[in-house]
Amino acid sequence: MSSDNKAQIAVDKFLQFTDGEVASFFEACVHCGECAEACHFYMATKDPKYTPTYKLFPMVKAYKREKAPLHSIRKMFGLLPPAVTEDELREWETLVYDSCTMCGRCTMVCPMGIDIAGTIRKMREGYAAADIVPDGLKRSVDFVEKTGSPMGVTSKALLAQVKHQEKETGIKIEVDKQGADYMAILSSMEIMGYPEIIGAYAKIFQKAGVSWTISSKAYEATNVGVQIGSGPLAKEIVTRVVDAAEELGVKYVISPECGHAYGAIRWAGPNMVGRPFKFEVVHIIELLDQLRRDGKIPAGAKDGRKMTLHDPCQIIRRGGLLKEPRRLLDESCADFVEMENAGLGNLCCGGGGGVSANPRAAELQNAAFGCKADQLNAIDGLEAVVVPCANCRTVFEEGLEEREIYNLEVLGLGELVAETLKDIEQAEG
């Protein structure tokens, strides 16, 4: 691929993805720089290059040069920006991939309400098409192509974890059960790192009398296509789940405690596949909240530790599930305290949007987690933090380790709910 070609391929994609919505954003930005104040990468480094709107510059240039209304008149007066070059795209690569988790916090502060996160997602389409992407994400893509999972989790590995959880809980977990109501999908990180969530599902759903299953063909929820910016790959990953769910005839697919996985299948999914699904996608937090309110999983003795909640960006800010986790926590723990800016204004963990899969960004991710660590440290006597996203959870564990904070437990919401169910023995705190 020649150099001009790469730039042209990227620019073509930029232009293709600049629809009325993105154009409105580009036409509204007045370069006030407020977005920097909301970005954890800027907050952690104070480096102006991490200003969110600056990360979009190559895409803005392509638009102004070739697509913006009245650009031909501006051209006559020499008012167009120069063409986007490959060098420039490469210079911007770390801004587009390493220093944006697509958390959307900048939108909250933007006087114009510009969705920079959503636009970065589209900008990455240009980068992926031109193959200017971080090696770490490329490796994830290779794994997905070989095994269907970004961490190389095979169905054998999944089945082994399921067996293990059956033994732990003494509850039968039916795989590939035709006609079940719910089909659960999981993130690689959960299957390999936190398999107890499978046992938690088993306990909760048994208590609630919910019929559920896991597909041995489509168990992976993580969508690396969304992270790297490859529409075709993202569609392939979603399609695998859709096919399996429609084959099993389930009514619902349960999106797990994973941020981007939720956005990928719940909000982007039907648009990628080009039709509404024959089932509904529910987030596990939504489902647990619903079951709780229907009285099917009454809470028992509360966990007595002082706890707080981390709001995963894609589930809360960009996903709309603000009240559900709080209602569940109110009934599951006795001493719940909110972090500063909790809810919509929460700070990202620093590792979303593919950043944690990109080793090149490790130092920056750790610096950004520092903002989160400060919020945790600001709560006196905090004993545990509930992190309902497996990816955030890993980032938390690494970040706390890095800071030698060992007295703070990081746990998932599903596990906490399972452990505090009525009639089920209270887990030791």
């Binding site: 720089g33 407020e34 039907p270 509404p276 809360i316 709309g320």
Partner: protein, 214 residues
């Protein structure tokens, strides 16, 4: 025809026509880029979200108050000041009545004009200076940002000089800058006067469907 007659006669009408046609063309052009229908099952109202986001982003959220206060104060001082001057300054109302609309409305007393102009100037200068003092804004500001700011400043400055209506030349200078400003507007960053609404509404609609209140 005197120079003054030219700049507030034919040139003004041409400039005003370019302004109106250019702005309408550009805004329609943006909307015509369209988008695909969202097929995901909604969890809230797109229209409600759009309205909420348009209104909500007029004022910074508490979370960001500290970082946003400079732009909030300077931004409102300038923009509100400018709108008040534009719509309520006695010469403006007289001009619009004579040349364009045929009717007028009550105007600001002289002292209120001076006060408003001071507030607007203070706001504009604060916004302008911050562009080259603040490291973030310095990095992201483009020549277009400065051009729009400087041109608006000159329109305001010459407007104040022309206030006493003591010299025909001062009024003519003001009108020249007004005409340039009107012609430049549709091609420039000044379009944010209208596009802020599109941008907020788009985001509000997208996230409103998800039940999220961005």
């Amino acid at each position: 025809m005197t120079f003054l007659q030219f700049v507030e006669g034919p040139l003004f009408y041409v400039a005003a026509a370019i302004f109106v046609v250019g702005v309408v063309y550009r805004l329609i052009g943006i909307l015509r880029l369209g988008g695909e229908r969202d097929l995901a099952r909604p969890n809230g109202s797109a229209t409600g979200g759009a309205i909420l986001t348009v209104l909500r982003h007029f004022v910074p959220r508490r979370t960001f108050w500290r970082g946003s206060s400079f732009h909030f104060v300077a931004g409102y001082a300038f923009h509100l000041g400018l709108f008040v001057l534009l719509l309520l300054a006695a010469p403006h109302v007289a001009f619009l009545q004579e040349r364009v609309l045929g009717f007028g409305w009550p105007v600001l007393p002289h002292w209120a004009f001076i006060l408003t102009a001071e507030v607007a100037f203070a706001g504009l200068i604060m916004l302008w200076v911050r562009r080259f003092v603040d490291p973030v804004q310095k990095l992201i500001s483009t020549s277009g940002d400065y051009a729009a700011t400087i041109l608006t400043f000159l329109v305001m400055l010459t407007g104040c000089l022309a206030l006493q209506e003591s010299h025909v030349a001062l009024r003519a200078t003001h009108m020249v800058f007004v005409d340039i400003w009107l012609i430049y507007f549709p091609f420039s960053r000044l379009i944010h006067t209208f596009t802020f609404f599109f941008s907020r509404a788009q985001t509000g609609a997208t996230y409103g469907r998800r039940g999220a209140k961005l």
